[in-house]
Amino acid sequence: MDERELVVVGGGPAGMAAALAAGAAGVKDILLLERDQHLGGILNQCIHPGFGLHRFKEELTGPEYADRFVKQVTKTPSIEVSLRSFVVKLTSNMKISYLRPGALEEVQAKSVILATGCRERTREMIPIPGTRPSGIYPAGLAQKMINMEGWIPGKEAVIVGSGDIGLIMARRMALEGMKVKAVIEIQKQSRGLARNVAQCLDDYGIPLYLSHKIARIEGADRVEKVVVAAVDDAFCEKPGTRFELSCDTVLISVGLIPENELLEMAGAQVDRKTNTPVAAEVNRTSIRGMFACGNACKVYDLVDSVTRDSEKAGQMAAQFLKEGK
């Protein structure tokens, strides 16, 4: 069986920063596993600017931010990158099985860093009554479709939830010629950054309905309309406030949930509510020598902070390998 000092699962911003920092701290033998055919993770679909102000003191797009790390990773001799490599099993003693085209590989690591990111919360995770037509997408999936695949999901959209991805997608769809009719937010305030409300909604005249919810989604095969209603402080519908918005597309932007199936599989403690590792310190897990960083550890607002903390994860793994703690 292949043996490695350190295996990093996930080649997004967290995994790349962790691998680079571990390499800089003296770890000689690092395997970085990425399921996609490119490094960069979610940054590859975040084509808007706003990244890197802390880290690089300039405003970059997601792909540019990723590219700076990809270039460093590929020229670091201690890091071997394996693309299209999907980890299917992780044990508590750090044996990893992963699929890559044509092969099931096994590797024994001395230390593991999980940088597996988040999934999007879906319609099923927030109760929205109505039918189940096509045309309902998690906002990040729509982002990937538009920015990386070149598919436009529909003509008229309503966005549920005012998280940053939803706000950024409102602007993207408006630029792509779609009519964005509204962003519906059940809270009293936007969940996204104030600057995203300004530059993504206000710039394009897209209304933001705070303290409102989607009461129903309607449509037979395809979304035809949503029914919107105002809510009170307990998030209960206020009678007599319903109105309809016709649309063929609904984007769901109601937050992210860390992806930690591998950690669970290894027997580490995972918080049921947040899906984050249970540990005393950021980046650690309940298994010694196994670390989690980036959005798999906690949901971050800024990639700059992911990089900063994930570098610490790389250093922690290096320390563990050196001193066994």
Binding site: P49, P63, E64, M148, L175, E176, A198
Partner: protein
């Protein structure tokens, strides 16, 4: 007269208050760094944004190539810029920062690639 703005220069999103005389900015308050002052003046007198999109690629290892303007362009130019980039097809490998359109739409800034695109790997 005054106008309220949210600064978009960084994630902090300061609330700015701009005192105006006609269309001229007299003073900016609420900003916590010089970028806020600069943003507010620009936003009133000549609003600009960095334009980003993605353009079609063919026979490369990605389907769409993300692109940006190398600097901000007038806000009113964003939708025309979208129409313009729909005409672009990238079929040769590029490096990050490669110029796809010089002096893009007469804005004085270039349209550049945000990542590399290479020939697809041999199977």
């Amino acid at each position: 007269m005054s106008r309220k703005l949210i600064c978009i220069e960084c994630p902090q999103g300061c609330s700015l208050e701009v005192a105006l005389e006609g269309n001229k900015v007299v003073s900016v308050t609420g900003n916590t760094c010089p970028r806020g002052d600069k943003y507010a003046r620009s936003e009133i007198e000549n609003p600009v944004r960095t334009f980003t999109s993605s353009v079609l690629a063919e026979e490369l290892d990605i389907k769409m190539l993300p692109v940006r303007t190398s600097g901000p362009i007038p806000k009113a130019g964003l939708l025309p810029a979208m129409r313009e980039v729909k005409k672009i097809l990238v079929s040769a490998p590029v490096e990050t920062g490669a110029v796809l359109a010089e002096n893009f739409m007469g804005t004085g800034v270039n349209l550049v690639a945000c990542r590399p695109a290479n020939k697809p790997p041999m199977e």
